[in-house]
Amino acid sequence: MATSTTTRKPPQRRKPAAPDAIAILKDDHKKVDEMFKRFDKLKEDGDEKLALVQKICQELTIHTKVEEEIFYPALRDAIVDADMMDEADVEHASAKALIAELTQMKPGGDHYDAKVTVLGEYIRHHVKEEQQEMFPKARSAKVDLKALGKAIAERKQELSGSGGTAGEGARRAAASAAA
């Protein structure tokens, strides 16, 4: 059981590998899930709730967009299971309807909390299906997940940079305020 540690080379510094498409999407899922958990703990209808829900809506809007523009079409080309992809589209449409309503509202508005809660439940269900069914199928199909990951990362950057002029102004103001 004795190992010769002396011959072992020092670990080489490697450039961290760019995350593949699935890693990026899973990371988004985690981020959104954490925000929904934070929402569940917020009691007061105030600025904090408003900012959090706006952030959830923004994250989800970008996430669904890159999936629909880049990830889903690539999977459709490679995977036979069109039904699964169709269902993902329908689930996105329901989520988008709720997001559109929420972005017009503020905390304390009629059914505001309920809409966020239901959105959270639907998203969790959708995420579970993606992670348990769609992603494994994508891995076993001949999809270039690295190239897709790169495209997704670029598109995400583009979308979060041009998220509306008001959003951009607010972000800049927040950034300079935080600095």
Binding site: D83, D86, E87, D89, V90, E91, S94, A97, L98, H111, D113, A114, K115, T117, V118, E121, Y122, H125
Partner: protein, 182 residues
């Protein structure tokens, strides 16, 4: 309770009033029927009249069921529990289901995303029913809510709505569906 059983027992069987189901029994019966229709749909492979009929029945059942819940059951639960969160969430879930029902009613089997819409509607409905069974119904039972009177009101309203929808819409798909399912 004992007195009622006694007097009922004294009555001749044929004129004994059938015990009207309470609200929760009625709503659970609806859930069972809707779930059975979804299961029927899931077994259908071809896009044809049978699929159209089953989906039409699902849509009709869901319209009726959500409407009586919103008009009668939820307001009563909200008042009795003094809590809005559960019924508010149920309202939101109904609204999303209704959007899918409306889209499906303007489509036919074979159309783009038709099967997916039914599948997602089934998933959402099952989740919604599960929440009612696990959370809302037990809470309603724990209050002083008169579930028998609510049940009677729901039954009357459903009959009313059913009459309206049968007069207003083309009855053919429903009739076909009923034949297939009987």
């Amino acid at each position: 309770m004992a007195a009622r059983t006694e007097s009922a027992a004294r009555l001749p069987l044929r004129s004994a009033p059938s015990v009207a189901p309470d609200a929760i029994t009625l709503l659970k019966q609806d859930h069972q029927r809707i779930d059975a229709l979804f299961r029927h749909f899931e077994q259908l492979e071809r896009d044809g009249v049978e699929k159209a009929a089953v989906v039409q029945m699902i849509c009709t059942e869901l319209r009726l069921h959500t409407q009586v819940e919103e008009e009668i059951f939820y307001p009563a639960v909200r008042a009795a529990t003094g809590e809005a969160a559960l019924t508010d969430e149920a309202d939101v879930e109904h609204a999303l289901a209704r959007a899918l029902v409306e889209e499906l009613e303007s489509m036919k089997p074979g159309d783009d995303h038709y099967n997916a819409m039914v599948a997602v509607l089934a998933t959402y409905e099952r989740q919604h029913m599960e929440k009612e069974h696990q959370e809302m119904f037990p809470r309603a039972c724990a209050t002083r809510l008169d579930l028998e009177r609510l049940g009677a009101a729901i039954a009357v309203r459903k009959r009313e709505l059913l009459g309206q929808s049968e007069n207003a819409t083309e009855p053919a798909p429903r009739a076909i569906g009923a034949r297939l399912l009987s």
